[in-house]
């Protein structure tokens, strides 16, 4: 029972990170109708930057800020430099370019920093707090939950309450009409990519202290999990990303806790196949969006 409570609590914290990363995939999907397979690798570059800045200044917030800005810069460079020039009539061309980018970024990181895991310190204690004798969340998990949910709230406000948000949504849903009405659609797509990459970088930076450490492949599984989350939630739905993320986080935590960490990837596969076969539009999506 204690173990169950502990697994549920850590599952929620981990799920918040998956949700945040999945939200970044949803942001790009909504802005550019593409699933960015390079999202994990781009976030990793930003995390290496954050790691370097933290090591240089000794300040975690400085590193976090540098990582988020670095993530946004990655988004800008990748969108303007690569994705804009990918052939647009085929969704596969964008995916293939993104896969090439993953290979380039990961191998560059490998060449520059080597394959060893660099431990990344968390700003808060990672040992769980006991509530009535039951081990629950650690202070760091609480920090993760609050940050992730806070960022999602800010993004929700941005999209629903600001003029920029309105323009972003308009250019995602009806680019031609928006262009006629004076919205700079190309700029909105770039902003969407920057926002998305910054959110992904934040998610990666929150995750890595709880894992083995920083390595050129640290975000591989994060991407696979987050992709599952986005599919489970429905790629068009930020709420789906949040609920899907928490669900997948708890499921993974329970599977890892009771069946072992090797089984987790199989659980992801089973979940993905089940959702795609039963409800290809995603659990939280109403539209039939994925079949031709």
């Amino acid at each position: 029972m204690e173990r169950l409570a502990f697994l549920l609590a850590t599952g929620l914290a981990r799920g918040a990170i998956f949700a945040l990363f999945a939200l970044s995939l949803v942001l790009i999907w909504r802005a550019a109708r593409i699933i960015n397979f390079a999202q994990g690798a781009m976030a990793l570059v930003a995390t290496y930057l954050a790691f370097a800045v933290t090591a240089l200044t000794g300040s975690y917030p400085a590193g976090l800020a540098a990582g988020i800005l670095g993530g946004a810069a990655m988004g800008f460079v990748v969108e303007r430099g690569l994705m804009r020039h990918a052939p647009h009539h085929s969704p596969l061309a964008g995916i293939i370019v993104a896969i090439g980018l993953v290979m380039v970024l990961q191998s560059l990181l490998g060449i520059l920093f080597g394959a060893q895991y660099r431990p990344m310190a968390a700003p808060f204690d990672q040992s769980p707090i006991f509530v009535g004798g039951v081990p629950l969340l650690s202070p760091y998990d609480l920090f993760v939950l609050v940050t992730a949910l806070g960022v999602m709230g800010v993004l929700a406000l941005l999209f629903t309450r600001t003029s920029l948000g309105l323009q972003l949504r308009a250019s995602a849903f009806a680019p031609e009409v928006s262009r006629l009405l004076g919205v700079r659609v190309d700029r909105m797509v770039t902003i969407g990519w920057m926002l998305s990459a910054a959110v992904a970088a934040l998610a990666a930076m929150l995750l890595i202290p709880t894992e083995l450490g920083l390595n050129p492949h640290s975000t591989d599984m994060l991407f696979v999990y987050a992709f599952t989350v986005a599919v489970v939630g429905g790629l068009d739905s930020p709420v789906g990303a949040l609920l899907g993320g928490l669900t997948v986080g708890v499921v993974m935590s329970l599977v890892t806790g009771y069946l072992g960490s090797t089984v987790a990837p199989i659980a992801v596969l089973v979940l993905l196949v089940t959702v795609l076969l039963v409800k290809p539009g995603g659990v939280f999506s109403l539209r039939e969006a994925r079949t031709a």
Binding site: A93, I95, G110, V263, A292
Partner: protein
């Protein structure tokens, strides 16, 4: 049709006999080449031939049916385990030699085909990114699957198989590596020939139609879902054969060799070679075998510090492959195969680069239907309207019988290999436009 063609090999042959004769010729040439190579080169040749089985299937899947799989390594490993388990069972039963190899190969192909059928059933419901994500999750789960059922798959260690010696009749003539290269070449040529015939035939045409415009294809009576499932299954069979041959060559199969990176490498080979082109698949397979080795030899010769050369090992080739993938996709989506055709065209005096028109091959194939039925030369038909014509052209064509459409589209594939006369509009030819259009 009387399109002037460049002087080509065996001008009198066309259609299926031509494919078969060329296949036999190329196979004999490749087998002859093994006599010129040292054992290590023969091993590399055998590996490239094994990769070719998988890459040929993948290039057909992506290029012709427009489905992207990042999980072909998983299908290869299924073939490898099918081969190894059967081979070990037969060894225990006292069977060896050629019967053991053939039965194991068949088992490997069958295993991968069944897995491919399951994936294909899911794939038929999905579009590009979803299928890519599903196959990605599959290949990531492979090590977990082998260690959870370690009783059968032996976890990370993988399975060892007994090796197949050179048959006694050839023992004095060739070395083991050369024999293995022969077997790999023969299996690869059977796989590639089968795929080439399929590509020319009605199924190839239907795959193209579904890729270009699924709705239009359905209106023309093409069973889109069945075509997609078939494409995936056939492609999986190729990957299974590749995995089985690789297991035959290395006498082992395990998850260590079939990582996500390897799966992406197969995509690189297919894209760099030129999507949809089987000759390109052969070039791409050779590139992914030779390039890492050449880069390693290059960095070893540079006498770098131990630390740096250790970090370069593996990473450098991945970097080059990733950059190649991006460059090909952005600059020349037809890949090496397309490069070869445009050089050839320059050689015959028509140096004009094809206008990479926005018109989808769907519109081209569907729109060229009546024209081709009339003139019998789809490649000489005037360029149809730009992109948005897709559905319209298909609708106006809805009454075209499959036979008309078939004759229309088998023509361009053949013509694709030849240069067109100077000044002929280029954009009707499906092979000229980007091969993976939706």
């Amino acid at each position: 049709m009387n399109v002037p063609t460049r002087p080509r090999l065996l001008p009198g042959l066309t259609g299926t006999p031509r494919v078969l004769v060329l296949a036999v010729l190329l196979t004999v040439l490749a087998i002859g080449a093994t006599f010129l190579l040292d054992p290590f080169r023969n091993f590399q040749l055998a590996t490239a031939a094994a990769y070719l089985c998988a890459v040929a299937g993948l290039t057909l899947l992506i290029g012709l049916s427009g489905q992207l799989s990042l999980g072909h390594a998983a299908l290869m490993i299924a073939g490898g385990y099918g081969y190894a388990l059967t081979s070990n069972a037969l060894t225990d039963a006292g069977i060896d030699g050629v019967p053991r190899f053939v039965a194991s190969l068949a088992a490997g192909v069958l295993t991968a085909t069944l897995l491919g059928l399951l994936l294909g059933l899911a794939a038929a419901r999905l579009r590009g990114p979803y299928l890519a994500g599903l196959t990605l999750a599959l290949v990531v789960a492979v090590p977990a699957i082998t260690s959870v059922w370690s009783g059968v798959f032996r976890g990370d260690q993988g399975l060892q198989t007994a090796y197949n010696p050179v048959p006694p009749a050839l023992e004095r003539l060739i070395a083991l590596e050369q024999w293995q290269a022969w077997v790999a070449i023969i299996v690869a040529s059977v796989v590639v020939t089968a795929l080439a015939l399929l590509r020319r035939g009605p199924l190839g045409l239907r795959m193209r139609a579904v890729r270009d415009d699924e709705t239009a294809a359905r209106l023309n009576g093409v069973p889109a879902r069945r075509v997609k499932v078939t494409a995936f299954t056939v492609s999986a069979a190729g990957a299974g054969a590749g995995g089985a041959v690789l297991c035959f060559v290395t006498q082992s199969v395990g998850p260590g060799a079939y990582t996500l990176a390897f799966s992406l490498l197969l995509v690189v080979a297919a894209v760099v070679g030129g999507l949809g082109s089987l000759g390109g698949a052969a070039l791409g397979s050779a590139v992914i075998v030779v390039l890492p080795w050449a880069l390693n030899a290059g960095t070893a010769a540079l006498d770098l510090p131990a630390d740096l050369s250790q970090r370069l090992a593996g990473n450098l080739s991945l970097l080059v492959f990733g950059a190649l993938l991006i460059a090909v996709m952005l600059l020349r989506p037809t890949g090496l195969a397309g490069l070869a055709t445009s050089w050839r065209r320059r050689g015959t005096g028509s140096g004009r680069r094809p206008a990479a028109g926005g018109s989808g091959p769907a519109a081209a194939v569907a729109g060229a239907g009546p024209a081709a039925a009339g003139t019998g030369a789809a490649s000489a038909a005037p360029a149809p309207a730009p992109a948005p014509a897709g559905t319209g052209a298909a609708l106006s064509d809805a009454d075209a019988t499959p036979d008309v459409a078939r004759s229309a589209a088998t023509e361009p594939t053949d013509a694709a290999a030849h240069p067109r006369p100077a000044g002929t509009p280029a954009s009707t030819d499906p092979s000229r436009t980007i091969p993976i259009e939706r």
